[in-house]
Point group: C2
Chain length 600, copies 2
């Protein structure tokens, strides 16, 4: 039996890496943790508004992720907190709940966490293998486009209700005369500044990078890099300060964020039962209202999380189940602190990586910054202009639109553009949930087609007087392909087989047969033998020989290699074929496989 | 351009075989046609009642099948007429229609025919390849059990409403005290007589068989065979005569079939619009009411029809699309003569085959008998006792329960018992439609599992100083398996690779890579190369070499065979590996593939 300590070690990677923790690592983690915090705080305020929640929920959601992940997670770069895509999905699943979107988002966080945890414990992570890269790229892009679209109205100070991508743009142009000029100027300026500051990063160097001796102004470059990474924080603080000062002078030119209560979240389990004016909503009622969100949100969270973790696993085998357990626990514990569904984000992981993070312990410093933010800064949040938050969101998500991948797919495997395009369009028109489902379906249909219609190579080989047809199925014969293979062989026999008495089936690449295909191959052999042909199986695996004997009770001719085949064919010209048949098949039956010079 | 005549020949096989029609064939067809007619007429009366229709609809449905099929069909044995399974399904889809079950059944026949025709024209027959033999066996068996169950109450003269398998048996035992003794005696006697007469066939010989000279009583044996095959007709006529005579004496001891109008069906298109008391039902309304029946019935008809046709194709390639076109036309034309959905039946095909049928022209004689039956015999149909018809049905369907196949599946591929059992139970509890769907799903999940988790063979091969790890994926690497293969290789590298600097990936069985898997393999090579390993691809297909070069921009080492691999490994010890790398990959880039002594 394994000792309990080993279980702890297995499920809490902290215990594995904490042993050789040192000052060097601690400094790296501190710098990285603070840098990530500067990205995270403004993002989480913005994403909360995207999720239809007050900004403080963004901070509550950012608090626990890092603390739980540092114990159970294994990839240093990951920062578990609100993400654009999950915020969008949370909004779409909670906006119409009868028991309120806040309660709904928190319950959704708890339930998603439970599902993720269960998937981790029962090793169900393989399910995400069925979502191909083109489908992931497509739904991520569609999500980004939808999010950017949803923010355009705030950027221009417009007010209208609409959800869908097309509908939003239609409404945008209907209401275009109601644009608030000052909001627009602020919003667009923020976008331009953010994008320029992002570009600055190319001229900077990360704070802990080993700088080249010859490089000019190393410190300046580090500052430039830091400013670029902290751009969201800078722009949010700057705009809030501007609004605050204008407010002192009695001016309120911008649409501002609503006033919010300051201080701590309520620490409690999510509400599993809600008393409303005239009736009680049970757990079942609430779960039913959340509907498919309970599956879709953890599913997408797992895809994103495992995908990001793999990208940062640096050639190690990633324990995907452990990652799911970690994220599941982050959500479960988070829900007790008022969090909505959280996950790793690629942009934060990239910032963490570039800042030189060494261990998940960096999460402590990020969490500390978040804690400071909501204890000290909440009163000032109401001064953050809405267009600023929208600019932060837009400038974050537009880089999630994977334009480049289409070119890559085109050069590598054009056929994979079909699932990409289908998923992208379905996601934009029918919503992310439906889009992913359709994308997966298209992918599975493609797979089934490959399984159902394997290539079957057919050659007519003349060996002196004895010609033969050689048929090579290039993969296992399973029920959807059985008839196809049979028809190929029969039609080639009819076409080529006038003066060929032998059909050789090269089974080297056939690893498997199921009941349907075994029966089908049995019938084929029977039909061909009845019509006077010799059927020879070459390189048929022993296991499949046993199977074949059960479906066909005549003699089965087996050869192990090309050489043995030639021996059989030549001997066949000297003695009656029926004898040869029994000889060779006897060799097989006794298990005395002849070794052959050219082993195939 | 192909001449019109060739099109006719292609789509009307009659034109192909009619050229060499002769007296010999004509006699065979006459005998076989009449014999099949004797099986078909009583069956069609019985199946009509199973479909919830009056008996004459069974005859109407039997009229056109043979006549249309003789032009468009290619398998002589097939007789397109009512079948047990389609009757059951027709009943379940039409019993509750607001516009009447007769109109519904006829419309269903027309629409099923259209779908079958379209499937034939657009070559969609491959869809049935995704229904494995175990699933077909399971739903056929479940259908037979359900049908037999539904007839038990008539056999015992009971009257209660129930549809489901379990419900029917529950009701049977609740009402068991209401059993009508005379019905029961008649019903059970019919069953015993039918089964005994069926057994008689073993002692008879078909009418046109070449009888052995030494055989005793050849004529007697032929009569015995004929009596056995005509058992349904004999028992129905016998019982009806008994009821007729008893009626003359004023006795009516049995539950009889309802009185029905005699003569011709109305020849017209099915009703596409129905005026009811207070509203008009449009085509759309009617189609909506028929629901999934419009898909399920043709789907099952195609599975059954193609399956039976294949069984009788005698080693020829069956043109499944042509079969679908033929059956589709039978249904479309049939619907104009008051037919409900029709199809080939295995039992009739077996009778036809045993009777020595030579061409589909036999259908003419069968149709003539059906025509005689409904012009001359209809007044007497009302004397057929219900228990007799039930006995005919039960004795036909119990042989559709495929008990033996379970044993076969067990010996050939145990895993295939899962779809069998799941389908059987689902069909019995949730209905045929749901059952098939669940069965197909289970099968597809099994397939996807195989695609997602291919075997990857890993060997550590010591060659003098240069050890290497050889990894052999046993099938194509596609998106669901990409990560699995990558993880296998990485974990074996970590486990075995301490003093191996080379990892050989044998790609002989890898036919395909998609975008996801190509990227994944690219990342793998990058990660392994970064950690100081040489990655060698053996027998990688040229097409995949091109793909790989697009996802990995470093040097790719390619060898064509074991011999080339050894050359590479030995040379690698003498000169810096990076040189060898570029040499060998250059060989590939220039397309100058070295021929190797041992071609793999």
């Amino acid at each position: 039996m394994r000792k309990p300590w080993n279980y702890f070690r297995k499920y809490a990677p902290l215990l594995q890496w904490s042993g050789d923790y040192n000052v060097d690592k601690a400094i790296s983690d501190l710098v990285a943790g603070i840098t990530v915090g500067l990205t995270l705080i403004p993002q989480s305020l913005a994403y909360a508004s995207l999720a239809g929640l007050e900004p403080q929920y963004g901070l509550y959601s950012s608090l626990c992720g890092g603390l739980i992940y540092l114990v159970f997670g294994s990839i240093a770069e990951l920062s578990i907190a609100p993400t654009a895509l999950l915020s969008l999905l949370t909004y779409s699943y909670t906006k119409d709940l009868t028991f309120g979107n806040v309660q709904g988002a928190i319950l959704l966080c708890f339930l998603s966490g439970c599902i993720e945890l269960l998937c981790g414990i029962f090793h169900l992570g393989f399910l995400v293998d069925f979502v191909s890269t083109p489908v992931v790229a497509a739904f991520t892009s569609a999500g980004a486009i939808t999010i950017a679209t949803s923010q355009v109205k705030n950027l221009f100070g417009l007010k209208f209700q609409s959800e869908q991508f097309l509908d939003t743009w239609k409404n945008f142009f209907i209401h275009i005369r109601e644009v608030k000029m000052l909001d627009t100027i602020l919003g667009l300026s923020c976008c331009i500044i953010l994008l320029s500051m992002r570009k600055l990063k190319d001229y900077g160097t990360p704070p802990l990078a080993n700088t080249d001796k010859k490089e000019n102004y190393p410190t300046l470059r580090k500052i430039v890099w830091f400013v670029s990474v902290a751009r969201n924080a800078i722009i949010v603080i700057g705009c809030a300060a501007l609004a605050f000062i204008l407010d002192k002078y009695g001016e309120n030119p911008f649409s501002l964020t609503t006033k919010i209560p300051s201080g701590w979240p309520n620490v409690s389990l999510p509400a599993f039962k809600i008393e409303q004016e005239n009736k009680t909503l049970t757990f079942i009622d609430m779960t039913t209202e959340l509907g498919t969100g309970i599956i879709v949100i953890p599913f997408i969270a797992i895809i994103a999380n495992v995908g990001i973790a793999k990208a940062f696993a640096k050639g190690n085998v990633l324990d995907a189940s452990q990652e799911m357990i970690a994220v599941g626990l982050c959500n479960i514990v988070g829900s007790m602190f008022g969090s909505y569904p959280v996950n790793a984000s690629f942009s934060r992981a990239a910032v963490g990586g570039a800042s030189g993070v060494r261990t998940p312990l960096a999460g402590i410093y990020t969490a500390a910054m978040v804690f400071l933010a909501f204890t000290l800064l909440t009163p000032y949040f109401s001064f953050i202009p809405k267009p600023t938050l929208s600019a932060v969101i837009i400038c974050a998500v537009i880089f999630m639109v994977e334009v480049m991948i289409t070119k890559q797919i085109w050069t590598i495997n054009r056929l994979d553009l079909i699932p990409f395009v289908v998923t992208l369009i379905s996601c934009l028109i029918l919503g992310i949930e439906m889009g992913i489902l359709i994308g997966i379906l298209v992918d599975i249909l493609k797979l089934l087609y490959v399984t159902a219609r394997p290539k079957v190579l057919v050659e007519k080989i003349p060996i002196e007087k004895e010609k033969y047809i050689k048929v090579t199925p290039t993969s296992s014969i399973l029920f959807p392909s059985a008839e196809h293979v049979r028809e190929k062989i029969i039609s080639h026999n009819l076409e080529l087989g006038q003066n060929c008495t032998t059909i050789v089936i090269d089974c080297q690449r056939v690893n498997k047969m199921d009941f349907t295909s075994a029966k089908c191959v049995g019938d084929l052999v029977k039909d061909l033998t009845t019509s006077g042909k010799n059927v020879v199986f070459m390189s048929l695996k022993d296991r499949l020989v046993t199977t074949l004997k059960k479906v066909y009770d005549g003699k089965i001719v087996l050869v192990k290699s090309e050489t043995e085949l030639k021996e059989y064919l030549y001997s066949g010209q000297q003695q009656p074929i029926s004898n040869t048949l029994s000889n060779i098949s006897n060799v097989q039956e006794n298990g005395e496989h002849q070794s052959s010079t050219t082993q195939l």
